[in-house]
Structures are given as structure tokens and as C-alpha cells.
Symmetry: C2
Subunit: 143 residues, 2 copies
DNA sequence: ATTGAAATTGAGAATCAATCTCATCAATAA
DNA sequence: TTATTGATGAGATTGATTCTCAATTTCAAT
């Protein structure tokens, strides 16, 4: 079993939950994804490749993947919550193009530091953050 | 007519839209708000104070207020989109407490500058951005 | 003031993501 | 084996938001 799978299994077991075949299917699907996805895209890809699995099961599994850090909520977009793999993925923020929907990932260490400073100032214990900059990418600016 | 109202009216007229009594009612309600609100809170407050107005009218008016810069989308929270007045309000970002729901506003000039730098790097034309840090406030950390 | 084109409104229906229900299954421990 | 507890599937439900459409209002041009 790969490390990520073990992490997931351990999380489940230590919380009195079970590592079921269905959850393994969802796990595999997530691992095979690169880039962003939403719950329904995930569900559809499973349906196409591995046969049936309830939509509810996918929705129910997602919070567990988030809890283990295998998946992260990324942005809200087009009315849906989008996710991304976060194991093996560095934290990053997003530039979202309103023209073509393209998402550019970036990371700025200094911004992160300054955020920590802000939290300290307010005695705020941060768990995570989301920075999304909306606008137009190079290509879309021309149109 | 106050300046904000004029801004709103001019925006409407110049876009072939009309400054109707209903939109004025929504305008007044927004102006009288301080802090964050969501579409339904806005609708309810109008109902209580000024009698009837369709929920759809409120929802339909919001994009126009956003377009004029009178209102800004602030955060998505508890399944709803939250808004805030932005005329007379400086841009700021948010610390969101997952314990009590409190929202602390902050602004860090250096973070803003660094964001501009990132955009420049990717030739990205930014319209707006949203930075939300989730965690626990001082009070909730103790529990 | 009247007309007509275009925008607006209200009320409820429709959408759509996300969550919940509940009866049935499966796994583990006693 | 049985009891307990968690998990699943399928569909119903929720709740925010958007849409529909007939009726009304606005405004510019008669």
C-alpha cells in the first residue's frame, strides 16, 4: 500500500471508520487526477472507469480526504466547490481568469509570512487560507 | 441625491437600465447596513421596514450594485454568498473564525503590493482578489 | 398626453450542488 | 452467532440562486 493510502486508512481506523472498497475506489480516482476537480467530475470519472458508486458516497468521502490532507478545497467557481490533490502538492494560491477559466497557480513565500504576522497580531490561530485573484490572463486581455 | 445614489443611477442609465423605486428601496437598505450581509438578510430587512418587494428583485439588483462598486462580494460562508458595502469602505481581507463565525477585517499594504508583483509576473490583469484566512479567534482557542 | 419599445417586476417554478433519509449490507467484537 | 456500529445506494430533500412569463412601468418620441 502506498504511503498516502496508509495515511488515509490510518485516519479512518483511528476514528472508528472503515476503509471500504468504495472509499478505495474514490481514493484511486483522486490519486489519478491531476489538477483541479469538483465532486461531480470525480463522480463521473469513477462511473466511467470503475462502474457504479453512489454520488452520495463520493460526497461523503471528500471530507475525510480533506481531513487527512490528501485533498484540499481550492476555489469556489461556477457555483461549485473545486478541490485539488494536496499530497505531493505544495500549497499555492490562484489567479483565476474570468475570460477562459484558466487557473494559474502561484506561491509567494513573503505573502505567506505576512499572513502569519497578521494572525499573530490578532492572536488568531490559522488553519488554512485561500487567496484568489480574479482578472484576465495574458491571452484574454487581448480580446 | 447623495453621491452614491447618483453613481448608481448614472450606471443604470448609461447601461440602458432604469432607476426604479424598487431599486431605490434596495439601495436605501444597503446603505443603512453596516457590516456583512447576505441576499436573504437584505431581503428580510427590506420586508420588515419597507413592505413588500420580491426576493428576485433583490437578487437581480445585487449585480448592479457590485458593478458600480457600491457593494462587494465578501466571502462565501455557511453556504451563502456574503456581501458588504464597499463605498466608504476600504478594501480589506478577512480572518474567519470557525468557532464562533466572527469575522475580523484586516488590511496589509505589503500583501497587496506583493500580489501586484505576482500579477505582473504572469502578465495577469487583476480585477479583484479575496484573501480569507480560516482558523480560530482568541476566544475560541481557549475552548 | 399618448404610444410603443424595452426594461422591470412579482410570484412561483425550476435549477443544481450538496445533504439527508432509510432500509439494507458488511465488518468487527463479544 | 449475534449485537453493534458504520457504510452504502437510491432517491428525496434542502436551500440558495436563477429563470419564466404575464402584467406593469418607464421614458423617449411623437
Amino acid at each position: 500500500m502506498e504511503k498516502e493510502e496508509l495515511v488515509f486508512k490510518n485516519y479512518l481506523v483511528s476514528h472508528g471508520l472503515k476503509y471500504t472498497p468504495e472509499r478505495k475506489i474514490v481514493f484511486d480516482a483522486i490519486i489519478s487526477f491531476s489538477g483541479h476537480f469538483d465532486a461531480d467530475t470525480l463522480y463521473e470519472s469513477i462511473r466511467r472507469n470503475k462502474g457504479k458508486l453512489s454520488r452520495a458516497t463520493v460526497y461523503r468521502a471528500l471530507p475525510h480526504f480533506i481531513a487527512t490532507g490528501i485533498v484540499k478545497e481550492s476555489l469556489r467557481f461556477e457555483g461549485r466547490t473545486h478541490y485539488e490533490k494536496s499530497l505531493g502538492t505544495e500549497h499555492h494560491d490562484h489567479l483565476v481568469c474570468l475570460g477562459c477559466g484558466k487557473i494559474i497557480e502561484f506561491k509567494d513565500e513573503k505573502i505567506e509570512e505576512l499572513q502569519n504576522k497578521v494572525c499573530k497580531k490578532y492572536s488568531f490561530k490559522a488553519l488554512d487560507h485561500k487567496l484568489g485573484i480574479r482578472g484576465y490572463c495574458k491571452t484574454c486581455q487581448k480580446k
